[in-house]
Symmetry: C2
Subunit: 305 residues, 2 copies
Amino acid sequence: MSVLVVGSIALDTVKTPAAEHTDLLGGSASYAAVSASFFAPVKLVGVVGDDFPRAHLDFLTHRKIDLSGLQQVEGKTFRWSGEYMVDMNTRETRSVELNVFEHFTPTLNASHNATPIVLLANIAPSLQSHVLDQMNRPQFTVADTMDLWINIARGDLEALLKRVDMLILNDGEARLFTGENNLIKAGHKIRSMGPHYVAIKKGEHGCLLFGENEFFSCPAFPLETIHDPTGAGDTFAGGLAGHLAANVTGAVTFADLRHAVVYGSVLASFNVEAFSLERLRSLQPAEITARYEAFRALSQFEGNK
Amino acid sequence: MSVLVVGSIALDTVKTPAAEHTDLLGGSASYAAVSASFFAPVKLVGVVGDDFPRAHLDFLTHRKIDLSGLQQVEGKTFRWSGEYMVDMNTRETRSVELNVFEHFTPTLNASHNATPIVLLANIAPSLQSHVLDQMNRPQFTVADTMDLWINIARGDLEALLKRVDMLILNDGEARLFTGENNLIKAGHKIRSMGPHYVAIKKGEHGCLLFGENEFFSCPAFPLETIHDPTGAGDTFAGGLAGHLAANVTGAVTFADLRHAVVYGSVLASFNVEAFSLERLRSLQPAEITARYEAFRALSQFEGNK
């Protein structure tokens, strides 16, 4: 099965204590689409300006991503600039230029609206809902979000939650959204707002997956150095959705989602090893398999005497 | 095999946003010994004053803990008083009265110094070393510590580390001790200071276990309400040491430690469900087995289709 990925496409400037790079391929949909492409055919819906580098388009095409839904319009591409502090956990946004993204409306064509797995990567929840308005009964719908929308578009987000199968957000966002400090309470509370499944990402502490009377705690891969955390969450969501598309035939089960969460974590753990999407550019399927085995080894405590 | 537990025995006053209780059974050795007693015979070494309630002694005896190493001396028992803030993660110490603990020297008798498993629960590292001076080649030695000793007795702690098989500490203490923000780096750095194994406790995020080229990430049990976190770390250490004593015959392997860390986490997850040691007072072996199975279910992602 294939995955439809809708979200932002950006040119990023990222500064870390070690280095600074400009005009990197960024945006939630770029990370998610490339990550998903390691598992299943991907259709990307988004917008870029006429300044968008040919090399970035070539990379997406090389990943066999269907770009028929990519609008290229007059003007400048969405730009984001951020800086990471010494601990690599604290991030400061230095500038945001919406540019062509300001008037973006995701418009699906006939080849998009029957895609079985839909990943609504991080964009305004009203746009995420607008995508669902155009879909023809997808099999499984995953939405990602961020603190910005919780703060300025809570009503839109709550409306979206009644229409998606799964919501992905990080620990700080889950606390902000629910007012619950305890993440277990927060996960259950978000489920009660609509989605059957909720994934709460905790960075270095892994990820929690909530279902009806079911729970999974996915560890994080032990990394000594994080080169660039940008896009880790989007890469996680893309790997998760891509793995579902490749491996699920009937209804999505909690066991399917456990595997998908691990594969999402595998892809995210690679992504932070280099700037932008550089690590995924060279990533080989055998490396994914090896790291999946590493996840198994580090979380296993039975049958390993 | 049996476990020798050396540490503090206290009368605690604990205030949470929900309740306040006084003269509770507390101290690192009390929690650790009771926790270990669910798995193996325990010998307790510590000191109490002449005010120590008979009921607390009866409880320890009821748990079949050997109290021949418990000194009861003239004066008042060590007292600690603390208050937890609304999030139950932040704790403020309101008062500490060392009392008879101030001049405590752990003295082992002939029945103690050949105990195969030794748990040096949290006390001054110089006293922990003094215990080892009196031991006759124990099979496995575990030490717990805290921020206080890192701050005021770093030299003693470093000397101790060269003599123990395993160190247990929490995430904040690991960062304080090593100056490393990244816990993976911190774990490796502590191992390089002596102990073959290091366990870093992360509270709601579980626990990391480091060995030579081996790593285990233990999840936390998903609890919606924490009634009293006091002693969770001591209970973890006691469950771990007790499980090793009950299940290991030859040299301790990394696989043994994975299991022991899970059982330590199981016991700690029960302990925070009520004040002081109240939950362990009623805990049944079948509940331990059931929660171990729950840990398996929540961390498993293969073979569960």
